[in-house]
Symmetry: C2
Subunit: 308 residues, 2 copies
């Protein structure tokens, strides 16, 4: 039995996965704020999972944790997890002694990419494009995450696609994230509401010019991210996940229309069949928690190798 946690800004999702890869238990709880509370959340979630029917009879062999923020390569150190109030935290050192099993830590988008790959069938190559407050991707080929040299693999959100586009919080103009990031859209929409991107879609449907412009920018940014991922990493499929994908078909039809328009203009683009290579992660899929469980299990396997 392997356990995976997706430690999000508000909720933590935890799953228990059996040897065949089936999810046999799942719990959700609120994430605490700050380093100590995050450690507490992790320990509580694992304990709660262990008490679930279907999990209790088996032994937990590893724990994997997906968390927003940068992870120092090869360590369990999380830095700049600003949404959790964590500036710096060695999550392996802080939890493994209590848990008594190998613990692995990975950036949440990368964990979700591995989980999405497993849910997607687990063969070929795939990019997971996370559409949330920000925009970032994880690239997986034959079950292996492309980690890159210095921690920026998949950071397609900060590729500029328009020198005259909106200013991005990173300082550049026309970044994919400045067009398609939920945070940037909410800021430019500048009206109160719990679901600003949904409000933008509704207002666009009702004919609001500003909302139509923002909505078109979202589709343009997402389509550009798809082109970047296919023309650089040549992944078979691009799977969308993250908060904005709750819009479902309303999002997908906009993105497909944008991809169809560029296929119309360019025989080369047409030859790529991009409209057929994009898809939505099914709503409610615990991709990040599942991916985290796979990462924890890999740590367990490393331990087995190291200790003979």
């Amino acid at each position: 039995m392997k356990v995976g946690l997706d430690v999000g800004g508000t909720k933590t999702d935890a799953v228990a996965v059996d040897a065949s890869g089936t999810i046999v238990g799942r719990v959700r709880l609120a994430t605490g704020w700050g380093a100590d509370a995050v450690i507490g959340t992790v320990l509580t979630a694992v304990r709660a999972l262990g008490a679930e029917p279907g999990v209790a009879d088996d032994v937990i062999r590893s724990v994997g944790i997906g968390i927003p923020g940068q992870i120092e390569p090869g360590t369990g150190r999380v830095v700049h997890a600003v949404n959790l109030g964590v500036d710096e935290l060695d999550l392996v050192a802080a939890t493994a002694p209590t848990l008594g099993v190998p613990v692995g830590v990975e950036n949440d988008v990368k964990a979700a990419a591995l989980g999405a790959f497993a849910l997607h069938g687990g063969s070929g190559s795939m990019a997971y494009l996370n559409l949330g407050t920000g925009v970032a991707a994880g690239i997986v080929s034959e079950g292996s995450l492309w980690r890159g040299a210095r921690g920026t693999a998949g950071e397609v959100g900060h590729i500029s696609i328009d020198p005259n586009g909106p200013l991005c919080r990173c300082g550049q103009r026309g970044c994919i994230e400045a067009l398609a990031g939920g945070g940037a859209i909410a800021e430019r929409w500048a009206r109160s509401g719990a679901l600003p991107v949904r409000d933008v879609f509704d207002a666009a449907d009702a004919g609001d010019t500003r909302a139509r412009e923002l909505r078109a920018g979202l589709a343009r940014g997402v389509a550009a991210a798809v082109r970047v991922l296919v023309l650089t990493a040549d992944v078979d499929a691009v799977v969308f996940g993250g908060g904005i994908t709750a819009l479902g078909d309303r999002l997908m039809s906009d993105v497909r229309a944008e991809l169809a328009a560029s296929a119309e203009a360019s025989p080369f683009m047409r030859s790529l069949h991009l409209e057929e290579r994009v898809e939505l992660l099914p709503a409610g899929s615990p991709a990040a928690a599942l991916g985290a469980a796979l990462i924890g299990a890999a740590r367990d396997a490393e331990g087995a190798l190291t200790h003979g």
Copy 2:
């Protein structure tokens, strides 16, 4: 001894490489036009190399061929090698029986990427960015080429970075190749001359407005390709090769200035240290021929495994 060939539009470069990876022989000859002449060029080049001093005493164990055009994955079939007058050709079937050794075939940019990686020290990750008539990259990590799912890995030339940019031959607007490709620059410069991109640089130095605009576009396109490669594949270094790099420091200072300007505007870009991560392949390096030799040797190793 392994042999590698870089079959170019006008010249074919051939090298012999010993077991330690040292180039011990090199010949150059004109490339023939059309399928039969290309086959003849390959056979002649290998025979000429075999007669070189320092090569003649050893046995050629494998031949690798880098060639412009698409290579069908896992085969020796070349399609659409338009610069060679080749529409379709199985180069392995056409040469291996005569050569009597395993033959491997790869797209020339991908072969150059492998060769550049070896010349660069052979560790970490690297993208080779070919700046010639077109713009395309090869991505190498720990000695392995990222091949992708459907043959478009590294095709960064057709990523659009400006919806109002010049029309690309692919049908899109503002593609990196429409700004930085030698073919696109020559077409927009529209004056006769054997070295149009060099003419543009000279005219820009002399104050010509149109030339300055084209020259600035080249730097902008190359800098964008570097950002795409680092933000997607997160390679350690981006090494430039291809015809346009004959401009040497004149090109590099423009590209570095462009990267410095975006680092000035964006703390995130500054954190990537892109100016330090770009470099030129040394002039005259037989990167593609060397890479082809490595690909041929890999075919030999596969054969050894298959035949026990």
